[in-house]
Symmetry: D2
Amino acid sequence: MQVLVLYHSRSGNTKLLAQAVAEGARQVEGVDVLVRSTEDITIDEFKESHAVIAGSPVYYGGPAAEIKKVFDNFIKVRKHMEGKVGAAFATSAHHTGGKETTMIAILQAMLIYGMIVLGDPLEVGGHYGVACAGTPDEHTQEAARKLGARVAATAKKLLG
Amino acid sequence: MQVLVLYHSRSGNTKLLAQAVAEGARQVEGVDVLVRSTEDITIDEFKESHAVIAGSPVYYGGPAAEIKKVFDNFIKVRKHMEGKVGAAFATSAHHTGGKETTMIAILQAMLIYGMIVLGDPLEVGGHYGVACAGTPDEHTQEAARKLGARVAATAKKLLG
Amino acid sequence: MQVLVLYHSRSGNTKLLAQAVAEGARQVEGVDVLVRSTEDITIDEFKESHAVIAGSPVYYGGPAAEIKKVFDNFIKVRKHMEGKVGAAFATSAHHTGGKETTMIAILQAMLIYGMIVLGDPLEVGGHYGVACAGTPDEHTQEAARKLGARVAATAKKLLG
Amino acid sequence: MQVLVLYHSRSGNTKLLAQAVAEGARQVEGVDVLVRSTEDITIDEFKESHAVIAGSPVYYGGPAAEIKKVFDNFIKVRKHMEGKVGAAFATSAHHTGGKETTMIAILQAMLIYGMIVLGDPLEVGGHYGVACAGTPDEHTQEAARKLGARVAATAKKLLG
């Protein structure tokens, strides 16, 4: 059972959040976690993952082009992703937004890949995923860990 | 294991699609299917369902107010819906659209309820769910049956 | 030149924001401002407005059913709204979101009405419109006044 | 008064639609039209345009990474785009969708740039912009011409 945490990060904030998501996923027994930036990810690593949690900084209300490029380019393995589990996270420079539409855009791509997606119920920290403005504080990192664990547990139940 | 097919229909098109979704869900062994219009649904029926597949005609790019009202009003049972399975379908009067944003709006409400949602991979008939313009033809009804079966099977695996 | 500020409010937060938007619109010379709740608005008031700024509390990631019902029900005057100006605002109970997707849903309805829509550039206070969690503070109210003024000035230029 | 038609095209379908949009914009007196692919556009051409109509093929429910990259990279001239006019168009390989969410993603980026955006009222051909599956037929091209003309006329009124 392999969970991929995929991210793009320029300032380091999204990378930090990716690491917290990965920590959470690792807490689920029998789950291997792969943390990959958009530069490093290979199509085979993507294809062999049972769950993908993808995070991006918010650029103009959507994911960074680098994140979009991964989904655009990996079209050949779409059939392999059907029924797998997906989720999203995002960081923004300002409080003013774009985080929701960025996470929804990631979930939309996953739905079209045929994936089953989940968000972040209110008591954990967000809505469509885990998000924050600026550097993720401990509260946000805890929400990220919970998201990672929730995705890993869901993948195990569905595909284990 | 109870699957709720919730719909609002004025012309009868969305009701027809709801019935096809229900047929598909019934094909999965051990699954009870409830078909309810927005006028008939009770909060207990909603709360006791393990999956909800909600459909709406497209009004101005979003679900009918009647569908939204159900999600708005059933806020008290939100905790009960966490981890349950959701999906969407839509019908529009014209080819020109609003179906995608209507289904995404339904999925967003479900994600905030804490539900795990799925769409409709390309080969079945749509993207974010099953949708058509006008009266659903046999092809669309078949896609709706597949969506119903896919949701029921997913709910069984996750919650059975 | 008539600008309509349309809102639904249960707690009073969205009403407060509506009043700030209205104040801003009134600052533009030659502009009459109508402030109406979803209970009070008539189809003639809607139809005769040159701009509509609509605000809603966030319920499950979208506008309240009451706001949606106005757009759904006023379909008969759609032709009259083409080329008019629209904008959105939103309030949420928690910080965790739904504000963006709520404002986008309102803008989508306006686009389908054929309206020309505008958001809120970063330096003013938001993105897709003006939004806040809880009671709008002075900073948010100032952003709301600027949005009102910007919409009124745009309507005057386009339709005056 | 300069209108930019920006597109990315692999198969040629989006380019064809871009040319129809440009034709329509050229019909408005006093308007210069620039047609640029995502490879050719310069930041100065973007900055000096009074309106931008951007089109993309649909990849996984959103604009191609190449289109997103232009908006991501041109962040330095954001202040120059405030109050300018924007619109979107899209082409997809299949009928099954993603066109709406692709156009909304483009409009969201424009709103964050502070632009005033418009869609395509029902009688012209679409909703959030002009879109088609496969090669644009004459009906779609006519809708594209009308969108181009409508954007150019709006820019002239607002900024002329």
